[in-house]
Amino acid sequence: MAGRMDQPKTLYEKIWDAHVVEKRDDGTCILFIDRHLVHEVTSPQAFEGLRAAGRTVRRPDLTLAVPDHNLPTTARRDAKGNRIPIADPQSAQQLEALESNAPAFGIRYIEDAAPEQGIVHVVGPEQGFTLPGTTVVCGDSHTSAHGALGALAFGIGTSEVEHVLATQTLLLRPSKTMEVCVEGALGFGVTPKDVILAIIGRIGAAGGTGHVIEYTGSTIRDMSIEGRLTVSNMSIEAGARAGLIAPDGTTYAYLKDRPMAPQGAEWDKALRWWTTLPSDPGAVYDKRVELAASDIAPNVTWGTSPEDVVAITGAVPMLDSFTEESKREAAAKSLDYMGLSEGQAMQDVAVDNIFIGSCTNSRIEDLRAAAEVAKGRKVADGVKQALIVPGSGLVKRQAEAEGLDRIFTEAGFEWREPGCSMCLAMNPDKVPPGERCASTSNRNFVGRQGPGARTHLLSPAMAAAAAVTGRLTDVRELMG
């Protein structure tokens, strides 16, 4: 639990303790929030609540708004720079609401066609808005991503969005802590996405409930910030509201000179504090899990829960392998929805759609990994749609500067504008009913990518491999 003195503390406990404004007798704390990201889907009702109660935004300077969920990923401005209207009137209305609420409450707003626009969880770190040791919230469960920079970051509901807007705090009780330690070098073709899928497969979709996960070990330390963001992003798929990775040299090098990061003397002062944050030797976690990197293969999901993970070289599990009856029933239901049979080899599964994007895997390294596989190859004939959706306008520019867009378009992929796209079926990018998608996103839930859509979660390199072969494929067979 947080608040202990004179004994080794975890990173989580240090951040928590530095943000307690007031502790109530019943153990509930008023926790100060340093960074609040706002998007168009979960905020309109919160702003409406503020208006109804005659309240203002306490700290607009700590709040950043950017639209992402609803935006089509096709061109947003015509040749004259005029907005191309969003066809769906409800999506257009949500965008308009954010466009008017942000300035009305004095909040910094990144507009839909700005080069800095993108998915909130790509934009926050990229702009240096997310910093080590800060508390970061957003009305989106994948806020857990920001923990990659050593920030205590978690998703909140709309009532909490309103609470943060009005008070810059939340009423919370401390979480339990879980250490997930991954040691060793990743094998050829194995990526951070495979690591987090392996972790979720191991501890289960509810394994981290009530806990904040801290990822430790050499495998995590050796990852870039992009890779760490992928891992921490999917903490929520393991049930943990937040993930954390201790800030280190990689973190500081990533953040230095980002537009909203501290500069000059303030940077030096911040750095001194940040270096005190990593968990003390001997700090105690409520739970501990260990994985060996050498045991992790390129992974895919076969079912409708992110815990349904199997190595690409494996097969759909036999129903008899589930000892618990409720799990067996759930698996049977999943296979029925997914149109798969028990024992079927994963590499025999043909795909109709490819989605490379989302807050999990839309950063520059993800696109580089996908391009490496796509280079000189063609999207297979059976694939109906293959989308590459950069996580932000800045990622898009960088990729174009590196010529990645041409590799993709020459291979037959579509090169799109930044946004949440096909991850969640809230904009025109959807997987049609009954069709199958190899997707770098984070959720394979029933209907997640569209009603009746069948999702297989995998890494960007694996998605590109599936695109060029038309079936789920072990990317290692296509590499070097």
Binding site: I30, R108, T134, R173, S175, P262, M426, V446
Partner: protein, 197 residues
């Protein structure tokens, strides 16, 4: 927040595990700027299944929903709580919940009762024919057959639910402490005010 004291009546014997918020309310229902009318979209995919509990006249208007482990996992959408509220569900009983969902339910005056799977199994059986009573004050779920399942709840949440308390109003009572914290950190961690881009 709507106060919650006690609910008595029929319950949906849903029972499934890992029910995510995309199942409770699919994303296309989120394209609204209001909190109203979400009930129409609640469990849309489940309601396409023949014989589902939500369209069974036996359970019409039930105010209690019984589910399996990890209820409300996935997306943070509070629309899931709004949808349950709009369909008349005041209380969910399950072995465990996602942290975000249980918070969202609480903020909407919906009681999320945690009971072990054995109790859930028994309540699922009772719910098919008889009513269930959930009493927050005494922290107990009972049936007409003398079943009695006591549950634990965070004291702050209990007090808030019983009183139907406005949480923002409550926090604003500590405005002085928030201001003092801000002044202190402005000196200790001045970099927290973001540079202007």
């Amino acid at each position: 927040m709507k106060p919650f004291t006690q609910v008595e009546g029929r319950a949906y014997p849903f029972g499934r595990k890992n029910v995510d918020t995309d199942v409770i309310i699919p994303a296309h229902w989120l394209k609204t700027v209001s909190r109203e009318g979400m009930g129409q979209g609640a469990f849309e995919t489940v309601r396409k299944e023949e014989g589902n509990v939500f369209d069974d006249p036996e359970y019409e208007g039930a105010a209690i929903l019984i589910a399996g482990d990890n209820f409300g996992c996935g997306s943070s959408r509070e629309h899931a709580a709004w949808a349950l509220d709009d369909m008349g569900v005041r209380c969910v009983i399950a072995p465990s919940y996602s942290d975000i969902f249980s918070g969202n339910a609480f903020k909407n005056g919906i009681l999320a009762v945690e009971l072990p799977q054995e109790a859930i199994d028994r309540l699922m059986e009772v719910a098919r024919t008889d009513p269930i009573t959930v009493d927050l004050e005494n922290q107990v779920v009972t049936t007409p057959f003398q079943d009695r399942f006591e549950f634990q709840i965070d004291p702050f949440r209990k007090e808030s639910l019983l009183a139907g308390r406005d949480e923002i109003g409550l926090t604003l009572e500590s405005e002085g402490a928030i201001g003092a914290y801000e002044e202190r950190t402005a000196v200790e961690r001045p970099w927290l005010t973001p540079a202007t881009a």
